[in-house]
């Protein structure tokens, strides 16, 4: 069986909504989405599945870049996007159900974003 | 004072004093048997008394002062209904007092206006709608059965008059169950609702693992909840008394049969509780009205027609 865990394709930010739309039209389902903070940039992963096959797209964005929400295309994305927004501070715009940083009840803002010079 | 009056007063007093004791013990036995059915050890039989004593020691908090008054009215009418029953008074009065008690319970619950009690109260009204017809029909059934069965009125000098009075109903030649088995089935069925047992523990349950938590009784704290518990014991004893009434005749041996019947019915309720899931209100409504109409309704028709057939 093909090793889908390594199947990660990097795409530019502009293509994110287009790719999501294509995946939706193909009848695939959103498997997961997550953010990583590396080298002062966010790496956003979006995985889509069709039965056992999985494609993962990686979008690298700067700290201040705005990311369009895909929750209008894939409704379940709202949980993942709220999480990214709250834990990492990714600037995601237009989430269907936006919890406004109240998804998790935490005391600190963007705890997963390492402070500059802090580490 | 006549002998009959003394007996009446003694039995009313006995009910007021002994019913909570008996009711508490019954609940203890209920818990124990339930636990054994679930392969648990279970609490000791006297545990309900400790629970109620502990509740009395807790602080009473309520958002509405009227609640306590309404609850006291509830327990008063339950005791009143039981007193009427064991004092040998009118069956209709007994069930109407019991309904009045339920109304006070609903008022007490809804006096606090919280979401969970709100849902619980509406469900309690539905439960009343399922129980009341059966209760009233049972009273009517006893009346008609006494007409057919021929009450033993020789000592009173009256001849074959039907009666709603409990003191007359226990003085019959043949047990009422012979004439009203359908009513008996309907009554046992609604007992499941009255005792708040699964599958019909919708408005409030004996345990809080339910979507409305404790529903109707969720807002009663401390002593107020203890009062509801004690009222429930009174009610339980009274309703089991009605079960016994189906079997009692002027023959003293019949009391043994009645006691046996009460034990079987009580065990059956526990068994049903432990072998069914909680159903939704619409199914409860359909089931109880179906049983009431099919069993009690048919029985009623037969009792209506039978005297005329016998007369010819």
């Amino acid at each position: 069986m093909e090793d889908y865990g390594k199947n990660i394709i990097e795409i530019p930010l502009e293509k994110l909504a287009i790719v999501a739309g294509e995946e939706k039209n193909a009848g695939h389902r959103l498997a997961q989405a997550c953010a990583t903070y590396v080298n002062d940039k966010y790496e956003l992963l979006y995985s889509f599945e069709e039965d056992y096959a999985m494609t993962t797209y990686k979008v690298v964005v700067g700290l201040d870049e705005e990311v369009p929400s895909i929750s209008r295309i894939f409704f379940p994305a709202f949980t993942y996007e709220n999480e990214m927004k709250e834990l990492f501070g990714v600037k995601i715009k237009g989430i269907v159900t936006d919890y406004n940083d109240k998804f998790y009840r935490i005391a600190t803002e963007t705890p997963f974003l390492k402070k500059k010079g802090g580490k | 004072m006549q002998k009959a009056d003394i007996i009446k007063i003694v039995s009313i007093l006995a009910f007021i004093v002994l019913a909570p004791v008996l009711g508490g013990l019954l609940e203890g036995i209920d818990r124990k048997i339930s636990a054994r059915m679930q392969r648990r050890v279970g609490p000791k039989i006297t545990q309900p008394f400790y629970d109620v004593l502990k509740l009395f020691n807790k602080e009473y908090i309520s958002v509405n002062k009227k609640q306590l008054f309404l609850l006291l009215s509830h327990i008063f009418f339950v005791v009143f209904a039981g007193g009427l029953f064991f004092g040998g008074y009118d069956m209709l009065m007994v069930f109407l007092s019991l309904s009045t008690a339920s109304i006070f319970m609903i008022l007490a619950a809804s006096s606090t206006h919280t979401a969970y009690t709100g849902v619980g109260t509406v469900r309690e009204l539905v439960q009343m709608m399922c129980c009341e017809p059966a209760e009233l029909l049972v009273a009517v059934g006893f009346y008609l059965a006494s007409a057919v069965g021929g009450i033993h009125y020789a000592s009173l000098g009256l001849a074959n008059d039907p009666s709603f009075m409990v003191k007359d109903l226990i003085n019959v030649d043949k047990p009422a169950i012979m004439y009203m088995p359908g009513f008996f089935i309907a009554f046992v069925f609604i007992l499941t609702i009255k005792f708040r047992k699964s599958p019909f523990d919708l408005s409030t349950s004996h345990h809080a693992h339910q979507e409305v938590v404790k529903g109707l009784t969720a807002e009663f704290s401390g002593g107020a909840y203890a009062i509801t518990e004690i009222a429930e014991w009174y009610e339980e004893v009274m309703l089991l008394g009605v079960v016994a009434l189906f079997f009692v005749t002027n023959n003293p041996i019949s009391y043994i049969w009645a006691a046996l019947a009460v034990i079987i019915v009580f065990f059956l309720e526990i068994l049903i509780d432990n072998t069914s899931a909680r159903v939704k209100w619409d199914l409860m409504f359909k089931a109880s009205w179906g049983v009431i109409l099919a069993c009690a309704g048919t029985n009623l028709l037969v009792l209506e027609i039978l005297p005329q057939v016998l007369r010819h």
């Binding site: 889908y4 865990g5 390594k6 990660i8 695939h28 389902r29 498997a31 997961q32 997550c34 990583t36 590396v38 790496e43 992963l45 995985s47 599945e49 039965d51 056992y52 999985m54 894939f74 409704f75 379940p76 709202f78 949980t79 993942y80 159900t97 919890y99 109240k102 998804f103 998790y104 009840r105 935490i106 705890p111 997963f112 | 339930s34 679930q38 392969r39 648990r40 979401a115 709100g118 849902v119 509406v122 699964s198 599958p199 523990d201 919708l202 349950s205 809080a208 693992h209 339910q210 979507e211 409305v212 938590v213 432990n274 072998t275 069914s276 899931a277 909680r278 159903v279 939704k280 209100w281």
Partner: protein, 360 residues
């Protein structure tokens, strides 16, 4: 127009096994809207990668949740092993498979009990948990812990199971299969139970795909995806079918999970029969992980994702867990809309919520 009331459901509610909060908008007894909110037990475990090295992270992964503990540890280890190109010894793969299935057994039995309690069937609840106890005893005997097994390491497993223990495990699994028969019969055929389960929480096949449902929730909607089929651990050598149901409702989800219990018993039996004899159960990892990998595996509650990104140092850049409950939140909201209030606890339970996992 009926009056609308908002009922706060949870986080502290007797039918909820773990804290999740739902704001339910009710019209009489019908739910018209439900807004979930979580975050009462968020611990930020993922960010511990900054402080713990990749070997120590196994302990953290295992402690994400008590019920899914073994598979979290295993998922993390498999992901790191993929990054580091470690092929673990065959015996270790089989041992992982056996413990995996024991986790599934106790997790599903726990869930069945909670569901029975949710619809007010206490005797059934106690029966399920009584059966579960022997499964836990076996886990304790072989690993030393009842829930947190802590036997996974990057490169294999820490403890071996002796042949005697294997024999006993097989006997217990078979016994569980036997004792389960009457319980399954009650769940699937009892009138009052069926009156609660049938037709509650309909999730069509299309909705299941669109809303990203996973695990038994998805399989109960007729989608045959079980990631054990992708052949991680020793599942590639074991013969089993994906269990699905076309009921799309609560009954279907119960059916799928009950059949999976019987299937788990069968998988345990196969794994114990096929386990190779070898002393080697662990390969010591050399160097540090560099690269990224997205591991998928089938938790009792559905597919879980473990994303690991290493930069060549002993601390990982990112460790991310996506648990099945997180994926099932959207389907839950969907099924809650239009459901009667009495069904709310059941619907929350039918996704088999594991909130500790979800919030990490």
């Amino acid at each position: 127009m009926p009056k609308k009331t908002v009922i706060p459901f949870g986080p502290q509610h007797p039918v909820l096994p773990e804290p999740i909060h739902l704001d339910l908008v009710l019209e009489d007894e019908t739910v018209v809207d439900a807004i979930p909110s979580i975050g009462f037990i968020h611990r930020g475990l993922e960010s511990l990668v900054e402080k713990k090295d990749f070997n120590e992270m196994v302990y953290v992964a295992e402690r994400i949740c008590g019920i899914c503990s073994f598979m979290h540890g295993m998922g993390y280890c498999e992901a790191v092993e993929h990054v580091m190109d470690i092929d673990i010894p065959d015996r270790a793969k089989y041992l992982r498979t056996i413990w995996c299935e024991f986790s599934r057994l106790h997790s599903h039995l726990l869930w069945l009990g909670l569901l029975a309690d949710g619809f007010g069937f206490e005797a059934l609840f106690n029966e399920c948990w009584r059966i579960r106890e022997q499964v836990l005893d076996m886990v304790e005997m072989t690993t030393g812990g009842r829930l947190i097994a802590s036997v996974n390491r990057v490169g294999g497993v820490l403890k071996d199971i002796t042949p005697d223990m294997l024999k006993q495990m097989k006997a217990v699994a078979e016994n569980v299969g036997r004792e389960l028969v009457p319980v399954a019969d009650t769940f699937l055929n009892d009138y009052s139970v069926k009156s609660r389960l049938c037709g509650s929480g309909i999730l069509s096949k299309e909705d299941a795909i669109a809303l990203g449902a996973c695990g038994p929730m998805m399989r109960a909607s007729g989608i045959a995806v079980d990631h054990r089929k992708s052949g991680y651990a020793a599942y590639g050598n074991i013969d089993f079918d994906v269990i699905t149901s076309n009921d799309c409702d609560g009954y279907g989800r119960v059916y799928v999970r009950i059949q999976e219990l019987f299937q788990s018993v069968e998988i345990v039996r196969q794994a114990i029969d096929k386990i190779p004899d070898s002393e080697e159960i662990m390969i010591k990892p050399k160097g540090n992980p560099k690269g990224e990998y997205l591991m998928r595996l089938e938790q009792p509650r559905g597919e879980a994702f473990y994303y690991v990104k290493g930069n060549g140092s002993k601390n990982l850049d990112r460790f991310r867990v996506r648990t099945p409950t997180f994926g099932n939140l959207a389907p839950l909201v969907h099924t809650l809309k239009g459901a009667p209030f009495a069904d709310v606890p059941l619907l929350v339970l039918t996704i088999d919520p594991c909130v500790s996992c979800t919030e990490r």
